[in-house]
């Protein structure tokens, strides 16, 4: 009985998860094209990477993107969630829905909406530039503005998720603690810094690591906003894997890049797991 119950899941996992993962490692030691066999080349694909300029761009941009989104996105979500938490009843649900709605939409819709909002000629956001007396900027066509702009859109798109987790974390704090704090005549800043912030810390750590792992794997937004722009300046790691494999037909070299990202994400996840375990142990 147990075998029958686990069989569908195990079969699917073997086929689309275990098998491709093992194949990816093997592929990275060959010079195979996207489809078809290749010769064993040992570590050659990896030895190329330190000299590969596009790999440098991709690695740097990925970390840059992480820096632009993870901590700022977490803080924005924290502030918004504290604001929402003060609201009551229907107003609270309405405001939460307004912040949350973008998160539920497909990346393509987010792309079309912001491509329109920030359109150089007709975008409504460009009126803000005019109004401020600044020159309009074709944000997605300029290398300097591309990552910050995509980072901004990404924060807008994904903040709803973090806000939800922060709200759950805030509701888990017993109200008695706040009553005690107000009896002690604690001001709103000291209540925040002595009560809310320390008790929200575990959720903050959770939200920022989820964000970190998510943003390391970024592809969709960068690809979409790069269309008609300068993809080679905007490369991120997944994009580079895609480019090597699907545009240059070099499966082996692409797999080596994929393995690098694979290892980065696993290392970050394991570190995070150990850290939460350590701090959890201390709290007990």
């Amino acid at each position: 009985m147990a075998v029958l119950l686990i069989l569908p899941f195990v079969a699917i996992y073997g086929l689309v998860f275990i098998y491709p993962t093992i194949k990816m490692f093997i592929l990275s030691f060959t010079d195979a094209p996207l489809i078809g066999a290749g010769d064993w080349v040992g570590l050659e694909n990896y030895e190329r990477l330190p000299r590969d300029r596009r790999f440098h761009t991709a690695l740097w941009n990925t970390f840059y993107f992480v820096a632009l989104t993870v901590i700022p996105g977490t803080l924005v979500a924290l502030v918004i969630s504290l604001g929402i938490n003060r609201l009551k009843g229907r107003l609270q649900s309405l405001v939460l829905a307004l912040f949350f709605l973008p998160y539920i939409l497909p990346v393509s819709v987010v792309y079309l909406i912001w491509d329109w909002t920030l359109n150089f000629q007709f975008g409504i956001a460009m009126h803000l530039f005019d109004w401020a007396g600044a020159d309009r900027i074709p944000v997605f066509k300029s290398t300097a503005w591309f990552m910050p702009a995509v980072g901004f859109v990404t924060i807008w798109w994904t903040a709803g998720f973090s806000i939800l987790l922060f709200l759950a974390g805030r509701r888990a704090i017993p109200e008695e603690i706040y009553e005690a704090a107000s009896l002690d005549n604690s001001g709103s800043w000291s209540t925040f810094s002595r009560v809310t912030w320390p008790l929200m810390w575990p959720v903050t750590a959770l939200v920022s690591t989820i964000q970190l792992i998510l943003q390391l794997k970024i592809f969709d937004q960068v690809y979409l906003f790069s269309q008609g722009g300068r993809p080679n300046d905007n490369l991120v790691l997944v994009y580079y894997v895609f480019q090597r494999a699907f545009q240059s037909n070099q499966g082996g070299r692409a797999a080596a890049v994929a393995v690098v990202l694979f290892v980065i994400v696993i290392v970050v996840s394991v570190l995070n797991f150990q850290l939460t375990r350590l701090s959890g142990g201390r709290r007990k």
Binding site: I12, Y19, L98, I124, H127, F161, F262
Partner: protein, 280 residues
């Protein structure tokens, strides 16, 4: 506390409330702007000043998108693949989660650790080998080919295991005394007691599958097999540089998931907090 202090706190509280509400409106404004722009005639859209409401309200872009483009068939592809992903993921995770939670079998702990470990693996790095696999099976440009690599959602099985673990053991013992089979115990006790979590997980899995971009984008080369999220960004000649038309396509693509969220708000937020490892 003296009265002026209470007064000051109330003023500050009111200010924070006001700022939050204004921020929420500004936050959602691009969505509103996208919808309003899609309801304007093309010449009104490109006027050099801001009009928050169309002078001439028109649904012509929607009529165009629905009748003159392939959006209908993209809708069908999206619905079929998202339903497929949801059904297979939820069903296989439910059975396997039940087995891991309630039954004894060899390698049970190993399987559980494998599932937890797979939680960390970045699926995006597997695209090359997914492509090779699906191409080798001759499934590129097919619904099955779009569905298969999207079936890895370890979160669903992890949530199911937690919920099954929490069903009181008395129910199981009573059923065993009545000589009920495992299948009966699962279908008469464990599934009915957890309908709520099944609905919540199904809704979010559907939303995830509907929204997925990278794999459907790679697995499909023929325009008539595209899902809607891929089609509206890849087939620009269908819409040209008609901004309002493009936005009407975006609204059509986002509508099903936006409605799913607005109708099942509580379920969606519950499933999403659960998927992050917080008990809702």
């Amino acid at each position: 506390m003296n009265p002026t202090r209470i007064h000051r706190i109330n003023m500050a509280g009111l200010a924070i409330t006001l700022i939050t509400v204004i921020a929420a409106v500004l936050w959602a404004f691009p969505l509103y702007w996208g919808v309003v722009s899609s309801l304007k005639p093309e010449d009104e859209v490109v006027r050099p000043y801001v009009e928050l409401w169309p002078q001439t309200l028109t649904f012509s872009h929607y009529v165009h998108a629905l009748t003159q483009t392939q959006i209908g068939i993209w809708y069908l592809n999206s619905v079929a693949t998202a339903v497929g992903v949801t059904f297979v993921t939820v069903a296989s995770s439910l059975f396997c989660g039940y087995a891991i939670s309630q039954l004894e079998f060899p390698f049970r702990r190993a399987l559980w650790w494998l599932i937890l470990a797979s939680f960390m693996v970045p699926i995006q790095t597997l695209i090359i080998n997914h492509f090779e696999l699906i191409a080798g099976m001759g499934l590129l440009n097919s619904w099955t080919g779009i569905i298969l690599p999207q079936l890895i959602h370890p979160v669903v099985i992890i949530v199911y295991k937690q919920f099954f673990d929490n069903v009181p053991k008395d129910f199981r013992e009573a059923a065993v005394m009545d000589n009920a089979s495992e299948w009966r115990i699962l279908t008469r006790i464990y599934i009915p007691m957890n309908w709520g979590v099944t609905t919540a997980l199904s809704i979010v899995t559907f939303i995830w599958a509907w929204n997925s971009f990278l794999w459907p984008f790679l697995a499909v080369t023929k325009t008539e097999m595209m899902t809607i999220t891929v089609g509206i960004t890849q087939v620009s000649d269908a819409f040209g540089v008609y901004y309002a038309r493009e936005l009407s396509a975006a609204v059509l693509a986002g509508l099903p998931v936006a409605l799913a969220y607005l109708v099942f708000q509580r379920k969606v937020t519950q499933a999403i907090t659960l998927s992050a490892g917080i008990k809702g």
